[in-house]
């Protein structure tokens, strides 16, 4: 009985570890479970969207610019936060933080950055579902 409980705790820990890793590094959750191609494609797509968003002049929303955008900044910030360490690294190193609205493609860049985060949330859920056993 004891052994079963310990095993259950361990797998519960693993699924949360997979979820956290999948959020932090896009595709890592699938990699960790042996789905190399799927993880590579999903992570690659999220990385590419993030990189293109940055190249287009998009900027990340954080709680620091609530005064400019109002309450929507929280929602935009939540979308951006989905990119995991990419988002945190960009904020700490001041990459894609400034609003570059003088560029014609800056709005596109914003959307690319946000959707990269949202898609990574979907990847996290997918990796978690695989870890739980709901998907293959």
């Amino acid at each position: 009985m004891e052994e079963i409980r310990i095993q259950s705790d361990k797998s519960s820990f693993n699924r949360w570890l997979v979820g956290t890793l999948a959020w932090a590094l896009p595709g890592a959750g699938h990699f960790l479970q042996g789905y190399l191609i799927r993880g590579g494609v999903l992570g690659g797509a999220v990385f590419c969207m993030y990189f293109i968003g940055w190249l287009l002049g998009g900027h990340l929303y954080g709680l620091h610019n609530v005064a400019e955008t109002g309450f929507l900044a929280y929602i935009f910030g939540f979308c951006d936060l989905g990119s995991g360490l990419l988002y945190l690294f960009s904020l700490t190193s001041n990459v894609s933080v400034l609003d570059q609205s003088h560029l014609a493609t800056s709005e596109y860049g914003d959307r690319f950055l946000m959707v990269a985060g949202l898609l990574n949330y979907l990847c996290v859920l997918d990796a978690f579902d695989i870890a739980v056993g709901r998907k293959r």
């Binding site: 799927r38 494609v41 293109i52 287009l56 959707v115 898609l119 979907l122 990847c123 997918d126």
Partner: protein, 56 residues
Amino acid sequence: MRHFLLMILFAAFVAIIFGIIGREKPFERFNYGIKIFGEFIVVGLALAWILYWLPK
């Protein structure tokens, strides 16, 4: 033209991820991805034309 290319790029990345996550078999994934991609392009173009005729 550049905006259209960006829309295609956006649709392609979203379709790839939706296709992989939304279906389980490889052929179904491919079909679903193509369907999502096509829907993005068609709806995007349709909305662009509707907005074009609206007064500024």
